[in-house]
Symmetry: C2
Subunit: 342 residues, 2 copies
């Protein structure tokens, strides 16, 4: 009998997760029922939001159960199909999770056309991370020509789209990334106007230099000290889309209440700031606009991307832990089966 | 020669202002030049924003110079006029400041019709405070029918309009005020659904009871612990128009940076909050809409107000210090001349 390898949540992390929080299991390959299909995972997407699903802390989504398969967006190949309109060999975008095989109905997947774009882009620049960049920057950030847009994790799946989209809209794009290689990539390959290394001892001074006219949009991707440094440079009427705060995801002792609110609220008032949290899945109505604008930029070669590929499902936990520490360089993907499709 | 009494800023306060920061001076009544008019102040408006003008801390407006007349909106009677379209006896809205006489050109004033509304309303419900309530609640708060709107300083010039406008829009209006008399007024006279006394030892529990479905719009008027308590009850997608933070205006040791940002930003993300500062003078384009909606509510007796009148310019400093401590009950006005106009 064919085996389905899968990675389940073995225990909930306290602070930073470790490999012990995950367990590789073997199970029978499931059989598709009437109207369903059997999918074989090709690409597995690893994203920071998964840290939230490992915990029971109040959030906008249900946590993964202990013993449950870790959630993930995937690109999969149809192996068997009882579903109208899907045939073996088709490639689909699915939510198969961290496993080699899954069963799904036709409404839970979206067919991909490998002739249009490399299919792995459906997990990155042209998928959830790209949409996150789009709705956060355009709908909440409201960038205007000539303004300065700053994004942290600038070489990553979301940040790379934020900055390039800002450039396409006529803004000054300033990235923040860890280390010289990433910064060089962000300015050289992605075409940002500047990129500042947050590990540099004079980070704050360099950030200030890179933003001589202050910051009009700060796309909050990481939180922590990087976020604080950006807040200090916000111009009057600046907008702060709050997308993530990876620097704080492992905090164990977050205070209950916002007890230093006065300082922030004073600045919100004096500088007339807008700070707004958002979650991409609640703004999916913008997908057609997103795919039209960002798809065109990708086709024209004006919006570039980089994928960081790890081979083998068994290596997903270690790769994910690295993601939380900023060790990936580009969109982090696990090649689960040697299908060749990309 | 006629005397113009005026109150100037004698020194900048450190922490809470005292009467020693002000000085009553006598000067000659100024003479209007060509095209100008001489105004005699009837009503002087005292508002929390004036605390900001006493300090040099970075803000959205220039501070009053040491020795300069304190700024204020006023209702004044035209005494002499070299300006087309203005005759002695006319009543105007002006920015005369804390003094008995001032000279102004026609562009700096707005003629008032005492037959339409009591003229003092131009400094309160139908003036800057009312407009502040309007743009903050409607444009930033975006209240929807059935939602819960909470406003602090609920019996005051801004808060009273926020809550009554929320009611008119079909929301549940919950006020926060200091003491039983104000709370009774807010529910009895102004028709809020509930009002919670922030001085009560069980304030937080009472606030929670008054908001059984959480808070959808928190109109931030005061800051401090009241603001913190409201933040804890914000629903997903809640909006926080940041209008003022009177509880913090006298703070001397505000931290430079928002160093407890992580906790707040975490909540902004998880609850998809929108927090936005605004300044009414930058949104004056909404004045026609405001006066149409709020003017109609006042005429129909559906939006009520209360004025707290102090007689004599010399009493303005003490009244202002009381305002910062919440001692006023209703819109605080100084009757500068016994004109009778209201």
């Amino acid at each position: 009998m064919a085996v389905n390898r899968r990675i389940v949540l073995a225990s909930r992390p306290v602070g930073a997760p470790t490999e012990e929080n995950f367990r590789l299991e073997e199970a029978p390959v499931p059989a598709p029922g009437p109207g369903e299909m059997l999918l074989r995972t090709v690409w597995l997407s690893l994203d920071p939001y998964m840290r939230g699903r490992m915990s029971t802390a109040k959030s906008y989504a249900q946590p993964v159960e202990i013993g449950g398969v870790m959630v993930a967006g995937t690109v999969a190949r149809v192996v068997e199909s009882n579903a109208d309109g899907f045939a073996p060999g088709d490639l689909v975008l699915s939510q198969s999770g961290w496993q080699e095989y899954a069963v799904a109905g036709p409404k839970a997947v979206q067919k991909l056309d490998p002739a249009a774009f490399p299919v792995s882009l459906a997990l990155g620049t042209l998928g959830m991370p790209g949409m996150t960049a789009y709705v956060g920057l355009i709908d909440i950030g409201e960038p205007k020509e000539g303004e300065t847009v700053v994004v942290s994790a600038a070489s990553g799946a979301v940040g790379s789209v934020v900055g390039q989209l800002a450039k396409a809209r006529g803004c000054r794009a300033v990235g923040i990334a860890g280390g010289k290689a990433k910064c060089d990539y962000v300015t050289g390959e992605l075409g940002f106007d500047a990129c500042v290394d947050y590990r540099a001892p004079d980070f704050k001074a360099r950030l200030r230099e890179a933003c001589p006219a202050g910051i009009d949009v700060y796309f909050e991707n990481v939180g922590g000290e990087v976020g604080d440094a950006c807040f200090e440079l916000l111009n009057p009427f600046a907008r702060v889309p709050v997308c993530g705060r990876i620097a704080n995801y492992n905090d164990t002792a977050l205070p209950d209440g916002p007890d230093r609110l006065p300082a922030l609220m004073g600045q919100v008032l004096v500088r007339r700031l807008k700070i707004q949290g958002f979650i991409v899945t609640e703004r999916w109505n913008r997908y057609p606009d997103f795919i039209r604008e960002v798809g065109a930029l990708v086709r024209e070669g004006r919006l570039r991307y980089r994928e960081d590929v790890v081979d083998g499902l068994e290596n997903a936990p270690r790769a994910f832990l690295g993601l939380l520490q900023g060790k990936n360089f580009g969109k982090l993907l696990v090649r689960v089966s040697p299908d060749g499709a990309r």
